[in-house]
């Protein structure tokens, strides 16, 4: 991570407002992150266009529109196609992970139920490889 003063911008998309708010606080307090959140999957493309985040943490199971569709919308738009996406999923039984991996394409998959420290490690890894 180093002592970079430049904060990485992360957009969290999750239908649970309280999860968004708490994860935002955890990430901002522990790492060089500026975190935006939304619980409205329809607003994601517009938000990404306007804010150009370095990474999108995207929930999969959302009642209004599932994460896979949101990802497809982002990939289908030239202004948002290059923003890395990490699916943030609560379910990690092996079969489901296999299933999600099959659908996730080039996108990353992270578990919702790990410590923030672990999550930050994974995020740093993604941001590092995304910059190459």
């Amino acid at each position: 991570m180093g002592g970079s003063a430049i904060k990485k911008k992360i957009l969290i998309v999750d239908d649970e407002d309280s999860f968004c708010a708490l994860l935002k606080l955890n990430l901002e307090r522990r790492g060089p992150f500026e975190v935006l959140t939304t619980s409205n999957p329809h607003a994601v493309v517009k938000l990404v266009k306007e804010n150009q985040p370095d990474l999108i943490l995207l929930d999969i199971l959302m009642p209004e529109m599932d994460g896979m569709t949101v990802a497809a919308n982002l990939k289908g738009n030239k202004d948002t196609a290059d923003t890395p996406i990490a699916f943030l999923t609560a379910l990690a039984d092996e079969e489901e992970v296999r299933d999600i991996k099959g659908k996730a394409g080039d996108n990353y998959i992270l578990s919702k139920l790990t410590t923030t420290e672990e999550l930050i490690k994974s995020i740093s890894g993604i941001l590092g490889s995304a910059q190459i």
Partner: protein, 402 residues
């Protein structure tokens, strides 16, 4: 003179009558013997056990007659006749009240309902039997004995309990899949809350509390994960494979954890293993669960031996038998009986969910295989899996590109 002649004639007649009667009696006796023989042959031929016990002064007495019923209880008729208490002694300790009550009811009222109870076979195994009693009166109408019919219902009982278990499992499955999905999100929120408190509060002692709370969240999360695996009703995606390969792949997944824990793995695969039709992912899940259990039984380290070889089951069918033996703490009889029950765990403190073996059993049964445990406290545990083979022809090598 006339009188003498008359008497003589009468005597001759009576003699001839007597003669006839005697012949008739002999015939009857012969018929009776034949009938008795037939009855004995019949009684000895039935697989059920038929016996007669006397009733003396209103109390059950000794066994006076018993058919050869070695297949049910293992003892020969002579052994019962020599030891009058044997018949009562072989009744399972917890069922003696029921059997006593049946006889008492017969003596008191002249009738009783058939009962089901357990007996201990001569070889020590437990068998379930159904017992029916029929009263036997003498010519004065006094109850002097009763006939008993004992049928082996062990298989029926096993199937009943399996049915009950599979019904519990399937209704649990539907519910748990939904619950597992719904619970993970609130858990994620609680976890984030705890994480935030960890960096916001600096009071001493609170850290420990937060760590405990976090452990609880991870435990709940593991339960939902296992529940989900458990609830999947997917029929296995069968492919014909070399099971040794699946076991080796599973071992490579757990290898590093085992070497850290001083656990040695011994592989003992016979070279001519037949290919089996299994879902390799599901089988990996089975082996991970069993190996994890074995490792947890050996906190100080030890050896896990995995053997795989050709064998035959009781129906003379070719099977592949896989035996996983550990040198761990072993399992008590009570725990062993409930080991496959969902949510039954002896490892709650260390995060056990009680679903590992249920999942393994579910998967093996979906493959029409069999899984069982042999263990004694202090003497390690063996888990035995038997899978059907489909001939040992090493069919055209199916290259699936992996």
């Amino acid at each position: 003179m006339n009188d003498i002649k008359k008497t003589k004639e009468q005597l001759i007649n009576e003699l001839s009558e007597l003669h006839n009667q005697n012949a008739e009696l002999k015939k009857s006796e012969h018929r009776l013997r034949a009938s008795e023989k037939r009855y004995k042959r019949f009684v000895d031929a039935v697989t059920d056990c038929i016996y007669t016990a006397e009733i003396v002064k209103g109390r059950p007495g000794r066994i006076t007659n018993i058919s050869i019923c070695a297949s049910i209880i293992g003892y020969m008729p002579e052994e019962y006749l020599a030891n009058p208490h044997l018949f009562d002694e072989m009744v399972h300790e917890d069922d003696r009240y029921v059997t006593d009550k049946q006889v008492q009811s017969l003596i008191a009222t002249g009738s009783c309902k058939p009962i089901e109870h357990r007996v201990i076979h001569k070889d020590g195994s437990v068998k379930w039997v159904k017992k029916t009693l029929v009263p036997h009166y003498d010519e004065t109408g006094t109850l002097v004995a009763y006939d008993g019919l004992v049928s082996d219902i062990t298989r029926q009982k096993e199937m009943e309990s399996r049915l009950i278990q599979s019904e519990t499992i399937s209704s649990l499955g539907v519910l748990s899949a939904g619950v597992a999905h719904e619970i993970k999100n609130p858990l994620a929120i609680i976890l984030q809350g705890i994480e935030l408190l960890e960096i916001s509060l600096l009071k001493e002692g609170v850290d420990d509390v937060l760590a405990l709370m976090k452990d609880a969240v991870f435990r709940a999360s593991r339960i939902t994960r296992d529940l989900l695996t458990f609830s999947r009703e997917n029929t296995p995606a069968l492919e014909e494979i070399d099971l040794a390969r699946v076991i080796n792949e599973t071992l490579s997944l757990v290898d590093h954890i085992f070497s850290l824990k001083q656990i040695k793995i011994v592989r003992n695969f016979s070279p001519d293993l037949p290919r089996v039709r299994v879902d390799s992912n599901q089988m990996k899940q089975v082996f991970i669960n069993l190996l994890t259990n074995a490792a947890e039984a050996m906190p100080e380290g030890g050896t896990i031996t995995i053997s795989a070889y050709n064998s035959q089951n009781i129906h003379n069918k070719k099977i592949l038998r896989i035996v996983i033996v550990d040198t761990g703490c072993g399992i008590s009889k009570e725990d062993r009986q409930r080991a496959f029950d969902p949510f039954y765990t002896t490892k709650k403190k260390s995060g056990g969910t009680g679903l590992g073996l249920s999942v393994a059993k579910g998967i093996i049964e979906k493959h029409k295989g069999d899984i069982r445990i042999e263990s004694e406290p202090g003497k390690g545990t063996s888990v035995i899996i038997e899978l059907q083979c489909y001939g040992n022809k090493m069919n055209r090598e199916v290259s699936d590109g992996r």
